[in-house]
Amino acid sequence: MTMISLLLQNSSGVMSVGLASGEKLLFDSVSDIDLAGSRNVELYVKAALRNSNKTVSDLDFIFVDIGPGGLGATRTTAAFANAIGFARKIPVIGINAFELIGDYVEHLERKSVVCIRPAARPNYYMGLYKGQTLTDFSFVNINEVKSFIRKHQDIAAFAGKFSFSTSTDLPEDPWPSAIANTTSMASFLRVALRKHKLGISTTQVFPITETLVEAVS
């Protein structure tokens, strides 16, 4: 039996949903123009199932982007996924957004990837994605972001979202620009299948942004 996986991405604030049978992607919401601009998870999931001739009882796994990123959006998707998992008694597995965008950009650029997204002001999340692994994932202040960027600027590609508004934040060298802030469903599925192979299985997910609470001075 090939496993049917639902893939939910929302932490960038733009929702995208995929449905896969084993390693084959059956549906990618990016190609469904009726969904463009909608923020209703149910609409996306219904479209994914309908277009693939599946029902909610065909689902075996749900993989969810749990941020860091937009808290409201991530929480909405997490609540939805948790409830489907609860009702259908299937695993719901959370994936760090930096693994998702890291995998995507690493695939494109063949380089390690520095991922950065703003957290509660004035802080940031950052991490380094290299060889299919996320390291140095942390909740940091602007100075640490700057030195991390300087350290990796020549060897890494950049993903996520970052802009530093005041001129005093600007370093001598120009900021690199991010290549992507969302992942493709092909990339999402790759990461999901790797998690599955590792035997990672949970029944509920929670946005990452809320579990890292250490204060940054």
């Binding site: 909405t76 409830a83 809320e210």
Partner: protein, 330 residues
């Protein structure tokens, strides 16, 4: 047999789940208070509230369905609060309800929390006779509603700033009585003398309320008086608050001549308010209806009860969160 509506309430700081049948009997209810999460901050923090709802909601649903031994096949629908309330908290309830509706193939009704409060009057016992005047006073709301029949909800007046319950909590904090402050304040007031003349904002005009002036006036008094008598300050504050509420209720009763006067919301627990409402009932002949406090404070049974009403009346709503939903909207 599809006997029950599963009600979900997550608009503020309590996660509540209930199963209610067509006649308003509450088969099971469980409410998880976030009181501990918020007490150290001295208020409700939206991010914490939303996170706590996400953690609590499915375990509470599982527990309620399990305790009641109700299978999903016995559910007629899901009713979930869509507003008013905190955005992040509403989203958790709505998103959960949508997903459960999809997975269990059940209709989902987005419910106005304020109408839920009014429907709470009929939980377990049919109490409301129309036309009715309803006073809703809690930490989240202060409003007077005219309900001429089971289909119509008219907002007579609401607060322009703080709710009465908020004002109670803030004054209790000013006096060092902790949180939640309402019951402590009422207790102190019982043995105090209402000798301090605090303002009674808008007491003679219309049905709108305003409590922020009263709150600051108490704070000013506390700041400028040393060795004050906390019981007297409490009694004077409560007297001012109850004077405002009851003068508007009396006017509404005289104006609308209803069959019932119902008082709901957390502040309905106040013995001072209850006795004053009793006076109004005796003075005007209106039947006073004070449902049990457990149905007066935020709970999911009232949301399920309102969902039955929505079904009866064919009210269709969407499942978008409406943080500022008003009583006249479904």
């Amino acid at each position: 047999m599809t006997n029950f509506i599963l009600g979900l309430e997550t608009s503020c700081d309590d996660t509540s789940v209930a199963l209610v049948d067509r006649s308003g009997n509450v088969k099971a209810i469980e409410t998880v208070s976030q009181y501990k999460v918020h007490s150290e901050f001295g208020g409700v923090y939206p991010e914490l509230a939303s996170r706590a709802h996400l953690e609590a909601i499915l375990p509470v649903i599982e527990s309620v369905m399990g305790t009641a031994r109700v299978a999903t096949s016995q559910l007629a629908a899901i009713g979930v609060t869509r507003g008013p309330g905190l955005m992040g908290s509403l989203l958790v309830g709505l998103s959960t309800a949508q997903a459960l509706g999809m997975a269990w193939d059940l209709p989902v009704h987005g419910i106005n929390h304020l109408r839920g409060h009014i429907c709470s009057v009929d939980l377990e016992v049919k109490r409301l006779k129309y036309p009715a005047v309803v006073l809703l006073v809690s930490g989240g709301h202060t409003l007077l509603a005219y309900v001429p029949d089971e289909k119509t909800y008219e907002l007579m007046g609401t607060t322009r700033d703080d709710s009465a319950g908020e004002c109670y909590d803030k004054v209790a904090r000013t006096l060092g009585l902790g949180m939640p402050g309402g019951p402590a304040l009422d207790r102190m007031a019982l043995t105090g003398n209402a000798s301090i003349k605090f303002p009674r904002p808008m007491i003679n005009s219309g049905y709108e309320f305003s409590f922020s002036g009263l709150k600051s006036s108490v704070a000013r008094y506390v700041d400028t008086h040393e060795g004050l008598n906390v019981n007297d300050v409490s009694a004077s504050f409560v007297a001012a608050c109850i004077d405002v509420l009851s003068s508007k209720v009396l006017r509404a009763v005289q104006d609308k001549n209803p069959k019932t006067l119902a008082v709901v919301g957390g502040v309905a627990a106040s013995p001072q308010l209850r006795s004053r409402m009793q006076d109004i009932s005796e003075q005007t002949g209106v039947t006073l209806c004070l449902p049990p406090i457990k149905w007066s404070t935020d709970n999911a049974a009232m949301i399920a009860m309102a969902a039955w009403d929505y079904i009866d009346q064919g009210i269709i709503t969407d499942l978008e969160p409406r943080p500022n939903l008003s009583l006249d909207q479904a």
